[in-house]
């Protein structure tokens, strides 16, 4: 029985996913508020896994919460903190509790987060994690032992369409698809011509592609991403547009830009859907979708 998210991907509709970031601590009210607000508006909610290597409530717990509240969770799993025993065990747990969508990621370096002295794991990489999911689905673990009760997942991965150099990134993208990734959520792309160029290439391969859209909240935030986030390039004209917003109106301008991009991606059928990242401002996803005419 395919997951609701998988059905949405296969239906040919324009798919929309967003993020739900677990809290630092056990107070889940804010996350619950976002889930309540968005669960019926989107096709899936990614639950981030210690995003930016900052220790938080676990993605597995957050995904369970989305499920319990009637939403469709996409469990983000990084290879940073768990070895192959722990990753397989968590996949068994997820499947047993009705979480059937997984986004496989390498994970940021622990040095970028708040526990810089932690031991990084990276026993597996993102391609291998996708492959492990397909192995578990055949009723075997990585060691070839039989599983008593299987799993079923819709597995996905990510790509950075504006990475520099791009060729090694594309080779890895192809390996992820070969390993069995059914959907790809991209890093944010602001230059629609670059996105189109990437999609001309990516369309040769199976798998649905959801374009990443990060809400711009101010001109300095856009400049900060250009300087500090690998593979993200906000063009100068968009920075200028953000800067032109009246005082207190930067968020509205960011919503307008995100909405405009999503509308173009949908109308020109550039991608199969979008993955909206409104980092810390999840309630704005509703406004972005409205601005996009969704």
């Amino acid at each position: 029985m395919p997951s609701a998210f998988k059905k949405a991907l296969d239906s040919g509709k324009f798919v929309v996913t967003c993020e739900a970031a677990p809290s630092k601590g056990t107070n889940l009210e804010n996350m619950k508020h976002h889930i309540e607000l968005l669960k019926d508006k989107v096709d899936g909610m990614n639950v981030t896994d210690h995003q930016s290597s900052v220790m938080r409530y676990p993605s597995l717990g957050g995904a369970l919460l989305v499920k319990e509240m009637g939403g469709e969770p996409i469990l983000q799993m990084t290879c940073r903190d768990r070895n192959r025993l722990a990753l397989q065990a968590d996949l068994l747990f997820a499947s047993s509790r009705g979480i059937h969508n997984v986004l496989c990621l390498t994970g940021d370096s622990v040095m970028l987060g708040d526990h810089k002295q932690a031991k990084p794991v990276f026993d597996l990489d993102s391609c291998q994690l996708v492959a492990v999911i397909r192995t578990l689905e055949k009723g075997k673990d990585m060691a070839g032992n039989d599983l008593d009760g299987g799993v079923k997942f819709c597995a996905g991965a990510i790509v950075t369409p504006e990475a520099n150099p791009i060729e090694p990134q594309l080779i890895k993208f192809e390996k992820k698809v070969d390993a069995g990734a059914e959907f790809i959520q991209t890093q944010a792309v602001y230059d629609m011509d670059n996105l189109k160029k990437f999609m001309e290439y990516a369309r040769q391969f199976p798998g649905k592609i959801l374009a990443g859209v990060i809400l711009l909240t101010s001109a300095p935030m856009a400049r900060f991403m250009n300087k500090n986030v690998a593979g993200v390039n906000v063009p100068q004209n968009l920075i200028d547009e953000m800067a032109s917003a009246p005082k207190g109106g930067a968020i509205s301008k960011g919503i307008e830009i995100a909405g405009r991009m999503i509308r173009q991606i949908k109308e020109e059928k550039i991608c199969d859907g979008v993955h909206i990242m409104a980092i810390g401002k999840e309630e704005k996803v509703i406004d972005i979708m409205a601005a996009a005419g969704l």
Partner: protein
Amino acid sequence: MIRSITQQKPMEEIERLLEGMGRVFIMGCGTCVTLTHTGGIPEVEAMRGALSEKGKVVTGTTVVPVACDNLTREILKDIQSGIKQSDALLIMTCAFGVQTIAHQIGKLVIPALNTMFIGKETAFGEFNEVCTQCGTCIIGETGGICPVTACHKGLVNGPCGGTNNGKCEIDSNKDCAWTAIYNRLKALGRIDSMRKYQKPRNHLGEPNPGKFRIPTV
């Protein structure tokens, strides 16, 4: 040539390790730490000065030729009195030297340096970590560049999303291993080997701690 790359510990840590020990013998090494200016004659002299200022009695200093060599025992015989008078030996060598000396002399040893990595001199005065002795070498398929070592995350199937203009997400001074591998394979016309799926690594090459005995002929 491979070299043991070291860095001096913060003085506060050295002082803490030497707490309660008034008489100290300082030892350096004429090999790697002399090259990297962390435990040669000038550094040992500077340490003598620093410890004297802190009120320690430095009972003697020496810079042995190769601290990790078993002959160090013989060399130290000549300077036994200074060592005997000391409460501890402050060793300004890599951990190989510190452990050799600890094994040979019945004295408490305190390392003054942290051993960072075994480095290969890749350009004059520049050292890079190129091998971590994992026991399951895969560089036959990566153009002779080890991603297990040269990639911060040890990734074997290609770069992560943090790769940035050929540099690593943790440090813009460090090269992205996978950009280097790609460039090397491209120059060799062997990009296909990068397309090959690499299975999860075998971490059982030589279980820690490594041990080897030359087979008897």
